[in-house]
């Protein structure tokens, strides 16, 4: 033991520095690569979404608490932030705009502390149902108190207050983006740090086996409660940033569909990995804003994506990435990548076929005024003629058939590679 101690030193974790550095860099340059107004708005929302989904994942991924009502905390943060912003604008509250998100955070924290105390008494399904109920309650109550929530119309505000300080007025979107980016970086770091602390670890323990936790000295209710409160704090910050970004807050920030989106996208990103929700948040904004722009059938696509992801990649995108990284780390990626190309190619063919059909159906139903023609992926299709339908059908059939062939091959290869890797790991262990 003592001997081992001499050689025991803490290496600087270079990898970790690189990862965080990259994260900061991405946050920094993203708006310079995508410069359009919409892109900047979306990037801002992604930054906010990242905080919200990571906060949600403190519950879902780290603590095993399935919440259907987390929008309550981000939403309350948003409401109090917008009121604070209005007060600041009116000169009755001396808080600079850059600190308004903290007001949101505090609101989230306080509400999470109050409501969380009752919800976290339970775990599992009762917890999920309590959060569902509280979510509906708070949403409906907010609408009943238009003095607070502005009713259906919401509360609006102006984030440009007073004179610009060093050229920063928060009027232009880019300035709001950087405010969000800074918060996003700090909050992400803070939430990551949380996973490395005693509380963070005990939260994992509570997720795995609450009963045993009680027998090693911890009060599970208290562990859950603290995590819930912390999560509420970060969610509130996200809400506050959202309020600054949109300058209007209405009941929808509290709505169950928002809570549902946190759950869905956190899961899709990968709840079992710390960084999974980040991917989820990016997807959330993409699906919510862009997908609905690209196609009328976006809800159908969204639903199908969920179905397939849950069925074939229940660990979310993060797990897909990590599994392939593992393959790459063992230097086996070369073998797979032709398969990936083939898979992508055939899948694309099938998908294009299917999407063409779906688009044509939607077109026929919704857009007939423009005539039977529609433009899809650069081509002009005639939804009234048989050609397009046959073409699409043909594409689907061929695509699916080839895909299945390639898939079998791929599954086989994948299996072999995993086997090799297992062997390799055993071999290394034996050394």
């Amino acid at each position: 033991m003592s001997q081992a101690k001499e050689f025991h030193f803490k290496p600087h974790n270079v990898g970790r520095w690189i990862v965080w550095g990259l994260f900061a860099l991405i946050l920094f340059v993203a708006p310079r690569i995508w410069t359009s107004g919409l892109a900047q708005t979306m990037l801002t929302q992604m930054g906010i979404g990242v905080i919200a989904c990571l906060a949600y994942n403190i519950l879902l991924g780290q603590g095993g608490m399935l919440s259907f009502g987390h929008a309550v905390y981000s939403g309350m943060g948003a409401f109090l932030a917008i009121h604070a912003l209005n007060m600041a604008g009116a000169g009755t509250l001396g808080v600079p705009v850059s600190l308004i998100p903290l007001v949101g955070g505090l609101a989230g924290l306080v509400f999470a502390a109050i409501l969380g105390y009752v919800s976290t008494k339970k775990a599992g399904t009762p917890f999920a149902m309590i959060t569902l109920g509280i979510g509906e309650l708070v949403f409906a109550l907010a609408l009943m108190l238009p003095e607070f929530s502005g009713g259906e119309g919401g509360v609006s505000s102006n984030r440009v207050i007073g004179k610009p300080l060093m050229g920063i007025s928060f009027g232009p979107q880019i300035q709001v983006y950087y405010l969000v980016a800074i918060y996003c970086f700090i909050c992400t770091a803070a939430m990551f740090a949380l996973t490395r602390t005693p509380l963070g670890r005990m939260l994992n323990a509570v997720r795995d086996n609450p009963e045993r936790v009680e027998f090693v000295g911890y009060n599970t209710h208290w562990v859950r409660f603290m995590a819930f409160t912390i999560s509420g704090f970060f969610a509130g910050i996200a809400g506050g940033l959202g309020a600054i970004n949109t300058e209007i807050v209405n009941g929808e920030v509290l709505h169950a569909s928002r809570s549902g989106a946190y759950l869905l996208f956190t899961f899709l990103g990968g709840a079992t990995f710390f960084f999974g929700p980040i991917i989820g948040a990016v997807l959330m904004v993409f699906c919510g804003v862009l997908l609905s722009e690209l196609t009328k059938a976006w809800l159908l696509y969204l639903g199908l994506i969920f179905l397939f992801m849950v069925m074939y990649a229940p660990g979310g995108f993060a797990s897909l990435i990590l599994m392939n990284l593992r393959v790459a780390a063992f230097g086996k990626f070369k073998k797979l990548w032709t398969s990936y190309l083939a898979l992508a190619g055939t899948a694309l063919a099938a998908l294009i076929g299917a999407a063409t059909m779906i688009e044509m159906v939607y077109h026929r139903q919704l857009n007939e005024a423009l005539g039977p023609e529609l433009r899809f992926m650069g081509a002009t299709l005639n939804s009234a003629g048989l050609d397009a339908w046959f073409g699409a059908g043909f594409l689907i059939v061929i695509g699916v058939a080839l895909f299945e062939l390639v898939r079998r091959q791929y599954v086989h290869e994948w299996g072999e590679i995993q086997e090799d890797i297992e062997k390799e790991i055993k071999r290394r262990e034996a050394l």
């Binding site: 033991m1 602390t197 005693p198 963070g200 795995d208 009963e211 009060n219």
Partner: protein, 256 residues
């Protein structure tokens, strides 16, 4: 002087049926006590009462002279009592190392801290390493608990139980399901890790009982009908009738 653990007329009913019917037991500090008794006598229930999983219907339980009956498990644990489970009860998705570390955190005063990094808690990490060596799982420190073999899982179960440094340890059938050779190794392990502690264990294997215990308590139908040295218990006619008195028990005991 006060006893390490004392039960005074403890009773427990579930619905109409009374399972523990006035159990009395006083264990000195540092004693190793084995609790034996027929199936369904209430041994596990007794452990559940002591460790706070259930509250007794009536009666008193004292730990180091302080009343603990009716308290929550975590409160009792903080006062220095720790237990293992008949079926392994681990943090399945955490590594072996993390399992043990979770169990030492509270006792070292780190509580619900979210302002300190685990990696910087040298006391906790050193203690964890120590425990891992004691239970011979240091080679498996990064394996997830759910991937352990049966025997390893049982060892980890005991590791978690002793990690917090409690002075009173309850073990519920620690060697169940193990082969003879493993059982032997395990008895030794338990002896090693509980030096200087008060130990209560439930066992059906007479080999373990006689190999481990300074004193034996016999629980039948929710009552302690005998509490004495192994030899005295073996000679006790009531115990013979209720529990021992079989070829198997004899051979096991003889082998110990």
């Amino acid at each position: 002087m006060s006893h390490a653990l004392e039960l005074r007329d403890v009773r427990k009913s579930f619905g109409k049926s009374e399972i523990i019917r006035g159990a009395n037991l006083a264990v000195q500090a540092g004693e190793r006590v084995a609790i034996i008794g027929p199936n369904g006598a209430g041994k596990s229930t007794l452990f559940n009462l002591i460790s706070g999983r259930f509250a007794p219907t009536s009666g008193e339980i004292h730990l180091h002279g302080q009343r603990i009956d009716g308290k929550k498990p975590f409160e009792i644990n903080r006062q220095g009592l720790s237990r293992s489970f008949q079926v392994s009860n681990l943090f399945t998705r955490l590594s072996v190392f993390e399992n043990i570390r979770c169990a030492v955190l509270w006792s070292l005063g780190h509580r619900y801290a979210f302002w300190k990094f685990l990696a910087d808690l040298d006391d906790a990490n050193d203690r964890t390493e120590q425990i891992l060596e004691m239970i011979k799982l240091d080679k498996r420190r990064d394996v997830l608990a759910m991937n352990l073999t049966y025997a390893e899982a049982r060892a980890l179960e005991i590791g978690i139980t002793i990690a917090g440094g409690s002075s009173v340890i309850l073990l519920d059938e620690p060697t169940a399901g193990m082969s003879k050779s493993e059982t032997k190794r395990f008895i030794q392990l338990i002896r090693d890790v509980t030096v200087g502690k008060t130990l209560l264990t439930v066992e059906h294997d007479m080999g373990v009982v006689f190999g481990l215990a300074d004193k034996i308590a016999v629980l039948v139908y929710g009552e302690v009908i005998a509490f004495d040295t192994p030899d005295a218990v073996r000679a006790n006619a009531r115990v013979q009738e209720a529990y021992l008195g079989s070829v198997l028990a004899e051979t096991q005991a003889a082998a110990a």
